[in-house]
Amino acid sequence: MYSVESLLRDIKNTSLSKPFRILNVCGGHERAITRAGFRTLFQHNIHLIPGPGCPVCICPEEDIAYAIHLAINENVVIVSFGDMLRVPVEHEMGGCSSLIDAKNQGADIRPISSPQEAVSIALEEPRKVIVFFAVGFETTMAPIAATLLNDLPNNFKVLLSGRLTWPAVAHVLESQPNTFDALIAPGHVATIMGSEEWQFAIDHHNLPVSIAGFHPESLLLSLQTLLGNCSNKVVTLSNRYPEVVKQNGNAAAKAIINKAFTIVDAHWRGIGVIPGSGFSFASRLSHLDATNDYAPVDFPSQCAQNVPETTSPCEKVILGKMAPDACPFFGQECKPASPKGACMVSDEGACRIWYSSGERSITNVIKKGNTLKVEMK
């Protein structure tokens, strides 16, 4: 078998004519990479670039604003995964710039750790309307789907803001051609959807893909495999998390997702509208949709039908165009205790991970034409 030492040696000693640019699209991977110090360790031959890897970071501002509106103006109880409560919106809703802000001003907003907990709250408080602000990628949408297909109390509603990962990755690869040389695919998304879902990157972008787990050895195996692809001039899909990820994924979970949801075009914060990238209610669950019961609100939205030109630093970080610490606000106006952008809020946001781990080595990874310019401190 492989030892960590031999993998480290192998990767470090691989000599390439130019650094190999590997995109990762999972906050868990970014955290593992950063904590293991791989970015610094392999800086001479690999550039590890975080992309759109966190469902909290890409949740559109208008959805958060709508949740704030429901909590303060419609007297509902908003329940959501803890990270969502602190995500700031640029345009305040009712004087509140986040759900926690609204909570501090008296709105009933509660963090939960599972979708079943949301249902329990609705059962315990039958006189209140409980709106579950449901955010997540496929990994989380499968449990949410399973919960929503159960018998639910009438006072339980859902504000759905789930997203599919691969269309966003496809968008990043299409909009920035020749910027990335390989992809580390998210292990727990692939647990549900299967390794085969990532074949598109090979077929359409000629990009080697490796599915990684979250311990350093699995990530090193992925890096070694991807470098091997480069050296041998082949493009393969490799699964380096086979103990959990199967080629077809979890068939029962996929069937449950398909029963609960349909796939629609959806807005991503920092990216714009991506076709076929969002979950909507299947008709059998449309009675759960909170947006049927409450009027929409005006919110200045970038949600045009076209993908907007990206301008803000957050958007550049989400798209892998800029390293977190190249942002002028990083560690200055924007810190975990007082976040200015969503990527500094979530435990899986690249900025939060870099700030908390002291990751500062690559100071400037900005796309310049078709190459990445990297300056070391």
Binding site: G136, A146, A251
Partner: protein, 75 residues
């Protein structure tokens, strides 16, 4: 957000299991692993209260070692 934690199955009743890890037990739904054989003593990867996959004892241990390091790092 997509973090999953290995837990040992202690008891099963229908689609619900009591699972344990590091001395903490919680109710876990087996709804999403209904196509797989899950029995008491098995290990499952748990995300937001749902088992996503059945794994071996060895893989559970490797993941727990990694999570212990993360917890120690954060402390």
């Amino acid at each position: 957000m997509c973090l999953a934690i290995p837990m040992k199955v202690i008891a099963i009743k229908g689609f619900n299991a009591t699972c344990e890890a590091k001395g903490v037990s919680r109710e876990v739904s087996l709804h999403l692993v209904q196509g797989l054989e899950v029995k008491v003593g098995d290990y499952v990867m748990v995300h937001v209260g749902y088992a996503l996959q059945v794994i071996t004892y060895d893989d559970a241990q490797v993941t727990w070692e990694m999570l212990d390091q993360v917890i120690a790092y954060d402390a």
